[in-house]
Amino acid sequence: MTLPTATELPIGAVVTEPGSTRRNITAGWRALRPVIHDDRCVRCQLCWMYCPEGTIVELKGVFKVGNRTYDTKYEINYDYCKGCGICANECPTKAIEMVPE
């Protein structure tokens, strides 16, 4: 990463780009990786609600799992997941498993 020089920076330490921490990939913080087993997921949204990073992504569409059909599906954005494991701890059906990286 190349940082701007002192003369290129805006005056008064103003950051002009909103949400620019997205440049900082925090995947390297992770020791355990959460994996969602879609067949056990009942779409309760708890992992999406309690994720501190907002890395659980909600997909809309028609998803057939076995003989059930859902209109949402949850996936994990591994770029920013820090591997805290709150999702696996809160999951009521234990559909999220923490596996070593």
């Binding site: 940082l3 909103p18 921490t21 440049r23 501190p52 907002g54 805290c84 709150i86 809160e90």
Partner: protein, 314 residues
């Protein structure tokens, strides 16, 4: 509290808090920030006091915020927000404000509210600025290395209240910040916990709407992984146990009426509360507690509930 979000399906979907910030894995305050930004919507200005959230979300030249955001100093976040709100009012009077109904929100930690920022908070509440003040409470100065604050509970270990034979963690009791705020006769003040998201977002929205009448205050309970010494996947569990054991009751002060919210409304009856030990044993900062010390904490908690029960009858 008005119910704006009835079920989890109604919750706001748009993410307004960028990932990639440097908060710890499993941070309770990060969950609170995500839901605060989602609920207040894009048309808001955020003033932030120094604290964990400020340090970790704005590592120059980056920021995790997608709102207009200002940070000045530790002690004056409420004063800064007062100025922003007064400026918007003045511009609106002159017909120069075209951004609509812009809300002003303060986000401060327990150090910036209980100790250092108390005078500017009191000034803001007294001058009746239409600002929503949100306190996320992690019960110590966490980002500088876990020093005790006015919010740290009794017998809690911190680096400035070490545990030995003479001193058993913090000596003093936790300050009742809600009592101080309610004494200013604000239109709305409430407590919320990150474990009860629906309750929390409804309170944020209610408090935000009441800012047209005057200042509003929210006290959000946000556990801290390194400071409280528990495994990082237990954050929500710890917050939930704090509510279920009665340690952190959920209630709101709405125009002079105190109301306990579920599940705390059943907890006036002591038998409905889980034993306090269940909450304490999860955390390393309370690992040294003896049974007598737990009994002392329980006695104080019972007295607090008696006080709350009397307030609720007013």
């Amino acid at each position: 509290m008005k119910v704006y979000y009835k079920t989890l399906k109604d919750l706001p979907r748009e993410e307004l808090f960028a990932p990639g910030h440097r908060m710890c894995a499993g941070c309770g305050a990060a969950i609170a920030m995500r839901w605060i930004t989602k609920t207040i919507g894009p048309n808001a200005i955020i003033a932030n006091a120094t604290g964990c959230v400020e340090v970790t979300t704005t590592p120059y030249p980056e920021t995790a915020w997608m709102h207009p955001y200002i940070h000045v100093a530790f002690e004056n976040s409420a004063a800064v927000a007062s100025g922003v709100e007064a400026a918007i009012k003045a511009l609106r009077r002159k017909g120069l404000w075209d951004a609509g109904d812009t809300k002003v929100v303060v986000i401060a930690g327990d150090g910036g509210t209980y100790d250092i920022g108390l005078q500017s908070l009191s000034g803001m509440l007294e001058r009746r600025h239409g600002v929503l003040y949100i306190l996320y409470d992690n019960e110590a100065y966490m980002n500088t290395g876990i020093q005790r604050s006015g919010s740290t509970p009794k017998f809690s270990w911190t680096t400035t209240t070490p545990v030995g034979t003479a001193v058993r963690g913090k000596i003093q009791w936790k300050k009742d910040i809600m009592g101080i705020v309610m004494a200013h006769r604000v239109p709305y003040a409430a407590t919320a916990s990150i474990s009860h998201i629906l309750d929390m977002v409804n309170k944020i929205k209610t408090a935000l709407e009441y800012t047209s009448e005057g200042p509003t205050f929210l006290h959000i309970f946000a556990p801290c992984v390194p400071g409280w010494r528990y495994p990082e996947n237990k954050t929500v569990e710890v917050a939930r146990l704090a509510v279920e054991t009665g340690y952190f009751p959920l209630y709101e002060w709405d125009h002079g009426k105190l109301k306990l919210n579920p599940p705390s409304n059943a907890h006036l009856d002591k038998s409905k509360r889980k034993p306090l030990k269940e909450y304490l044993k999860l955390q390393g900062r309370f690992a040294h507690l003896t049974d007598e010390e737990i009994a002392e904490l329980e006695k104080e908690l019972d007295a607090y509930w008696e006080y709350l029960g009397k307030l609720a009858q007013l």
